[in-house]
Symmetry: none
């Protein structure tokens, strides 16, 4: 059995590899969830196992890299006065629907501090928006995150194809409960 060894494309491949890893991770996390095998991600990215570990020392680093941009975009959009709370929620729910691993950002289960920090960014974003919005007396950012956690864990359980539809139905229920 002669397996042709992949050519060492040299350091210039670094940026490309990193991007490929993030792209692959995005796909794999989206479809298979946060616990997907890292080896699959490396394989999909067409990159050696070792390179994955070089770029991302652990699973959390990879999730972080995958979602960092999304979170920043979210914050930027949320900061604009014309953006309503509902707009922001819609964005977050889009994320949840697109990638079930996003749950790890909403409700981190690993102890990782960076993920917790990211979660806090999201919660704070909601907190700020809530102060500028007329909502029911019960509305608060903690319950909002709780509701999103439930939505996320549910979506993670079901087929990709039905996620959007279920998300709409579930969110309308949660929305009512949140007193928004």
């Amino acid at each position: 059995v002669i397996a042709t060894r992949r050519a060492n494309r040299g350091p210039s491949a670094a940026a490309h590899n990193r991007a490929a890893l993030i792209a692959a991770a995005r796909d794999v996390f989206a479809s298979r969830g946060f616990d997907a095998p890292l080896s699959l991600i490396a394989r999909r990215a067409g990159v050696g196992q070792g390179s994955l570990y070089r770029h991302f020392g652990d699973r959390a680093s990879l999730v972080l890299a995958v979602f960092e941009d999304n979170i920043s975009d979210l914050e930027a959009r949320s900061a604009e006065p014309s953006t309503t709370l509902d707009d922001v929620l819609a964005d977050v729910i889009d994320q949840l629907t697109a990638s079930v691993a996003f749950i790890e950002v909403i409700n981190p289960v690993l102890g990782d501090q960076r993920l917790v920090a990211m979660r806090d960014r999201v919660q704070n974003m909601f907190a700020r928006k809530l102060t500028h919005t007329t909502v029911g007396a019960n509305a608060n950012p903690e319950d909002l995150m709780l509701a999103l956690s439930m939505l996320a864990t549910l979506l993670a359980r079901i087929e990709v194809d039905s996620r959007r539809e279920v998300a709409v139905r579930a969110w309308s229920l949660l929305r009512r409960g949140l007193d928004l």
Copy 2:
């Protein structure tokens, strides 16, 4: 040195083994979740791995057997006129809190038809109860199951110790959303 092998107690042991497996599975699913190793269940039951497979060809059959009794009890209690919808819900939520594997009954993800049928029994139970209860206009059994699914998936994600507390908080939110 050869460890003495447990005696083959023959066919007469079948019923006993089956019961032991169910009991063990109940424990193991409760503590280690639905994905617990089957080998652990067999070991806990004091039964060979092969016997587990003979009695329960797959994981779903085991879940089914584990919860069959619980569902029957639930139905019986729900059928009594003195039992309110809230009583039934409290029972179900207790199940969810006690064993996160119960999610497979509320929201089956394995393709297994028997689990789907069981899910339908639960939903029908709620449907019957709802017709005899004064609730908001939006209340319906489908959303009720959806809400319980979300609660269940959330509970499955968190530490055992905090489940009860989170269940209370989350259910109060969901309840409001359900228009009960």
Copy 3:
């Protein structure tokens, strides 16, 4: 690539496998030392990786199994009145020369309590023998074990072929130092 899967020889192979694993471990530990890859031992024994782990849950269990008989023999022989301290020492040095992993028994570095207990058996064996032997004032079991540790670690470092010769030379030096 079609790798013929090894036939499942069934439970009757258990005793044989266990013996094969111990034999393989004895060889591999002897030549490559205590840190030898367990996968190599499984391969040499012609046994699946999982079987190795079933029989011996960790490295220490394997070492223990490998040396248990040797230690018992040692003790038995030492208990006979006609056996001199020098006889016992010669036996132990033979072990050290034959298998460099024996160091883990003389001077356990893993925390494993069973190995520590085995070490104690050896030391006690020497302690008993020393009380019945006329030796110099400085002779004591602790230093004896220390000396054997040094001998063992040295032997572990050198080629198999020269072990016997070096053992003789080193022991004569240590012997003088021990005041025997």
Copy 4:
């Protein structure tokens, strides 16, 4: 986002890099032992892996470079008439205690000829000193090296914290055996 790559400082950096590698190797060998990852040494030195390989084609070359200075110092001090054999021994034992990798000099196990040559320098140093010292009839440089080898291998096996203490105890035993 591309991490800025350290500038290639060109050939003029060669000497500096070499020195940094030796210093790093000294530290790393001392703390993590002779088998420490080379990548760690390069990182500590702030130097590329490739440069490490350019300067030191293999592990032996690195050990050689690390201890070259120490050996020279040792020889110089030993050559002074006022230095006793015990002084030299104390120096060597200090080395062994400080860096367990020094064993590769006392008792080279890699085939490397340069290490063997270095070993011979140490042995010759002792030989010369022995001729000017009044010692027991059995004292000879070969056994001296053997004793030091044993001490070194033992120290390499134990916790850093207990090395000094064990070294004292073991050396007193060996010293007696050496007839010094």
